[in-house]
């Protein structure tokens, strides 16, 4: 319900800004609001094999930042989605991952501190399976993996700067990888670590007017 309200609000902002653009030549910069999205599943564990190996469906969850909503998998070949999640891997709609204009890079700093994307920034695109715009691997992109306790923790001070499928800009901070929005303690049960993982909580700000300022 809350998400719907936010979507409507965003829609109004989007539409008014478009109207604003058509009315005058100067782009009116409206403040973008940050939205927090909870518990987006990202290829969660659905069972265990006879050998005890976790089973998943091996599918991405596609997400539209513009609409602030999950996009059905049937639309994976379209530009309706901007970003997609499968376990710790995050892809953008561009390069080898999609047909859109999408790309991304990982900015080190604070979410609120990033008020405009530096002009010399380079948006990378996915080149699966060799490299991804949002670097995969522990400590290299957006998370660290603690092998001893089998836990994923999002790195603090990392902002994913995203170019959407339609060439607009957004910034995103991953807050948590576990259901409920709280990283499990090291002492959590193996079952919890298995079943509550792969749920993203993140906040993002989408700039609908095409500028690089937030």
């Amino acid at each position: 319900m809350k998400k719907t309200v936010q979507s409507i609000a965003l829609f109004i902002i989007v539409s008014t800004s478009i109207i604003a653009c058509t009315k005058s030549d100067t782009a009116t910069v409206l403040p973008v609001t940050a939205v927090t999205v909870h518990d987006i599943p990202a290829d969660t564990v659905v069972g265990l094999s006879a050998q005890g190996i976790p089973i998943t469906n091996g599918k991405y969850t596609f997400y539209s930042l513009e609409k602030n909503a999950i996009v059905p998998n049937t639309d994976s070949a379209t530009t309706k989605w901007d970003i997609a999640f499968m376990a710790t891997r995050i892809i953008t709609n561009g390069g080898t991952s999609g047909t859109g204009l999408g790309g991304a890079f990982v900015y080190t700093g604070l979410f609120d501190g990033l008020t405009s994307i530096p002009t010399d920034s380079v948006f990378k695109t996915d080149n699966a399976p060799t490299s991804y715009a949002i670097t995969t691997g522990s400590g290299k992109g957006w998370y660290t993996y603690d092998g001893l306790n089998n836990l994923i923790t999002p790195l603090a001070g990392r902002v994913l700067v995203i170019k959407t499928a339609s060439g607009k800009y957004a910034k995103m901070e991953i807050l948590c990888y576990y259901k409920g929005g709280v990283t499990l303690p090291a002492t959590a049960s193996d079952a919890d670590k298995l079943n509550k993982q792969r749920y993203y909580t993140f906040r993002f700000a989408y700039q609908p007017n095409g500028t690089k300022t937030f």
Partner: protein, 679 residues
Amino acid sequence: MFGQLRLVHDTLQMQGDSVVVTANRSERKLSNVTVPVNIVNAKQIQQTGALRLTDILKEQPGLTMTSGFGAGVQLQGLNPDYTIILINGEPLVGRTAGVLDLNRIALGNIKKIEIVKGPSSSLYGSEAMAGVINIITDASTSIPLQASLRYGTYQTIDAGVNNAIATKSIFYQGFYNYFTTDGYSIRPNSTSRVTTPIERYSINQQLKWNLSDNTNLAFGVRVTDEKIKNDISVNNGGATITSSGNENNTDQNFNLSLNQRFSNNLKTSFRGYFTEYNAKQDLVTLSGDPYYDLLNHRFQRVENQTDWNVNKRLNFLFGAGAVWEGVKSTRYDSEKVRKNNSIQYGFTQLEWTPVQKFILIGGIRFDKNEAYASAFSPKLSALYKVNAKHKIKLSVGEGFKAPDFRQIYLDFTNAAAGGYSVFGTAQAQQVINQLALKGQIGTLYDSYYQLKALKPEYSTGMHLSWDYEPNANNFFSVQFFRNDISNLIQVQQVGAYMTGAQIFSYLNIGRAYTQGIEVEAKHKIYNHIIISGGYQYLETGDKDQIDQIKAGKVYTRDANGYSKLLSLSDYVGLPNNSKHKAQFKINYYHDNGLFANVRVMYRSKWAVNNTNGNEVFDKGDEFANGYVSLHTSIGKDYKNGFTTQLGCDNITNYVDAANLPNLPGRTFYATIKYQIFKK
């Protein structure tokens, strides 16, 4: 009867003026020692009900027990890797991930334990960076036969026999110990026992032959064999794999020494030492897959040391030796091939007493190593006796720790956890090059090009202490310490496979410090009761992390989970370190043989896990709770040679399965001991 009197004296002595051998590598009165030393004597060990070395060390000021890879000891904030453990001056080997499991050492025939704080590499070489713990076995032959039996919670049985034979020129002392425990589980609904069923045998034989008044030959053997029934659960990519089997660890030491006294002012000793530690894990998983792990460490040393009392004011000590050591392990490229290192070293120490009130000691040691860079360790220390009541000690020294075999030779690929590899520096570049030729390497980092022969880790330590002994019934001491560590060897990612799996090796990159204050006080009342207390305040930090925080490059998270800059005041330093640690003890001993004690230990919270998305430990991370543990024992020494004792450890039943696996819940025990006194 004679024995009884001796016991009374031992029990109620304060700091006293006992003899210390570890501080100067030569016998000195405690009152003339220039560095901080703690002595734990046999009577304290017995009345505490301590069975293994861990039991007694955890009650000493400045020491904290760690629980990964067995029970290690942390000294003034430095990890177990940095404290050398000696038995009668000879080092114990066989460390797993830098930790020497102190449960290996039975306390049944220990005369005393000397703990020297501060870098002591100028006398002992590698590992003596935080300090030295020297366990001195009882070679006395005054008690021909002694037997003891203890039974306690978790079916714990400890049985020991000491025997001694002395003739005019031959002295023999033997010690046999058997220990078994059924283990305990403090995780509810779990079959995984925190301490698994263990059986340990320890044998110690010492033989001394006085060839003449001035010459003696001594031979010693010490063997510890432990069998651990191992049921372990390993989490592998979310799946739990249970395996069972046995772990067998054997520790053997042999030493032979020839000691010659030329005059009251000149003596020399030749010592030969051989030790071997063999650890074997032989497990089978539930699905029938075998798991086998072997570590075998051999260490051989010959050494000569000469003590020369030049005159009343000048004491001169010098020595030299050679070490051959080697390790075989399934974790190296081949378990069949022993990886070897040889060390040649020389040391000297000058002790100058210009006036009775003042002692100045300067020492230096050089260690030349085959497998890694050489090390040079100087030390300077001084003692100033202000008057009969006040003493001030100051010492500054360099310590070092050689890279261990694992850091040089490890060749480990974890097929289960994503296929990451760790290569020791000896062959990291070579192995990675070969993999690159096969097209398996995806990326190489700058750190790959920085790989080279490892240097030892270095520390510079400074200790300043003030001892105040107003009278025979009171003692007070305060000590300030600071250790600066450089060249810390750290695991570093050097590249990645095509699959993305990480490749690690080791580099000398870290810098850290520990500093703090240690306070000790003892007070004797009515000749029967000693009240003693100790407190340690500790600060630690990684200097590179501190620089990063100051530069505004380290982030943490606020209550909403949003990132924010980390401020230095939220930084907590190195993990597993408690800021505050204290102990308080009341010991009672009556002339009729009755003894009792209550001991309270406190440790404040410590960081255990990095949970908020940065690589540093700060206030937002996961901490283990601070805790208090309470122990007591009561007993009686009877005139006919019997001693009975009842005890209860961890009275309040404090447990923390995740962070304190070595602390069982409340345990009770009863001991009976019988000794025949010499007529």
